[in-house]
Point group: C2
Chain length 282, copies 2
DNA sequence: GAAAAAGTTTCCATATTATGGAAAAATACC
DNA sequence: GGTATTTTTCCATAATATGGAAACTTTTTC
């Protein structure tokens, strides 16, 4: 969404805010939480263990272990087997752990295809997901060109005014889009922004039919963005990959060629994560 | 490994220890842990979120959130993206969550095959894994016979003197077994116990060749046990299923027939969990 | 460019909150 | 039937988590 002219080599961007002080890492810590995480790891390492065993191994009094275990149980991070009474890891821990797979594995497996796409097109390549009505950028491979698109990973933007957002909205279906924008107001960023629900839905129908989305100066003047969806093993679109660059390089004539490359990259990533995309243009 | 004569209908075995008092569950809980688990769930539900966003959503002061996040980070349950500075779920949470899959999915998917095996043989059916030098029983389907084998799930026993243990030791390989019993003393429970490392290794070689293991009164007089290994998708033996019963019903003549049934159940479970077993007896 | 805004981390006085020993209540073992 | 385990509750104590404010960044705005 911003177009930066930036020649100087950007050093590995450090975090915001006050920098971490100490070199070593006896960082602040919450004792009870520290212990609880230790217990989780302990229980995870064995298949069923009793409270008193845990207490002995962790060198903590039984009452303390019991209190922690009860709290973990309330959040379903642990469960107590009703027959045997011994403790195992619960669904809560599982579903939280799945988030790691979602975020990290996708990013890692996408990187090669994203690099290839950047080298083939010369433009910045982005990976993003849909979160509610917003597109969230997870990662990118930057173009080496002195004038190029650049977004900080983690950045959010309205889905209807970004390539990645439109690619994913199209796959989500009309009902979902209607529900999302029923009460929310659609703000115009440029003259090209699809600020009417009807025109947005029409554009999404086209997008769905051809398999890729375009943001044609709809968010930032002078910037075009082409995106294609990535599917998981259940044929659900979970993320999208896009290229974005200035209109002077991403010209109208090149759109089809670039869209083909983006679609190919998306398919490559879909395959890499073990997903399966719908058959299109047979 | 006890053999109980038990006619009275055993009611759904409650836990040991003092029973839980209250019907409702405003159970004891640790505030900081409670909050931390909430934050984990919150972060897991979104793909990358900043500390201040977390603080706002959780309605907690930033300093408190920071302290909890740092503790979670020390255990790798969360990680802070070095580029963007936003927080995501870490490997620690993932590996703990995997323990849930290991334990629960295996048990759930094994149950049908275990029931069928119990009905076909009339004997108690057990599911267990190897944990170090011990066999751990995860679950069972009890025989309806008045005299039957019975172990409480969660129970541990020496691997060399149980069907499940021997089935898994055989697949683990000689080097592993040698390392396990190099310093540990092998105690005899009955005259039949394989108390010499050499005789144990010889028995395991046979076991590996035919694909199933037998515990022939090696732990408890009057009890025989036949077990077969279950494999995961990488052809690694991760668990075993067994039947155990009194020698008067599990007679020498029936061993081959029963072993076939146990092996079939093990193969069925292997298929159910998406595993692949080695080709045997072609 | 300069100034304001937003964000993260550290510090520290305070009392809220976790702690663990002991007792209670149940089952398991002999 | 009696003893040993095991889990859960209770409660006085002080150790520990808490959160407001300050410190120190980067980013945005004007």
């Amino acid at each position: 969404m911003e177009l930066v002219m930036d020649q100087k080599t950007r050093e590995p961007k450090r975090s915001r805010g006050r920098p971490r002080k100490n070199t070593s890492e006896p960082t602040v810590s919450v004792q009870s939480l520290d212990r609880a995480l230790g217990l989780l790891t302990l229980v995870a390492s064995r298949d069923g263990i009793t409270l008193s065993e845990i207490a002995e191994l962790a060198e903590l009094p039984a009452s303390t272990v019991h209190r922690i275990l009860s709290t973990l149980e309330a959040h379903r991070f642990m469960r107590q087997d009703p027959d045997a009474g011994h403790w195992t890891i619960g669904v809560g821990a599982y579903s939280v752990g799945q988030a790691f797979v979602r975020t990290r594995r996708l990013e890692a497996l996408s990187r090669p295809a994203m690099w290839q796409l950047m080298e083939a097109t010369g433009e910045t390549v982005n990976l993003g997901v849909l979160e509610g009505h917003e597109a969230v950028f997870l990662g990118q491979v930057e173009s080496p060109a002195p004038i190029r698109a650049y977004f900080r990973p983690g950045r959010r933007g309205p889905a209807y005014a970004s390539g990645i957002g439109k690619a994913l909205l199209a796959e989500a279906g009309d009902e979902v889009v209607r529900r999302l924008y029923a009460k929310r107001k659609i703000t115009s960023f440029t003259a090209a922004t699809l600020s009417e629900l009807d025109s947005l839905l029409r554009a999404l129908k086209e997008t769905r039919a051809r398999g890729w989305a375009i943001d044609d100066e709809e968010h930032t003047l002078g910037m075009r963005c082409i995106a294609a969806p990535i599917f998981d093993e259940e044929q659900v679109a979970i993320a999208a990959v896009s290229i974005s660059g200035p209109t002077l390089r991403v010209t109208e004539e090149r759109i089809t060629e670039l869209a083909d490359r983006v679609s190919a990259a998306a398919e490559q990533i879909t395959k890499a994560i073990g997903g399966v995309g719908p058959e299109r243009r047979p």
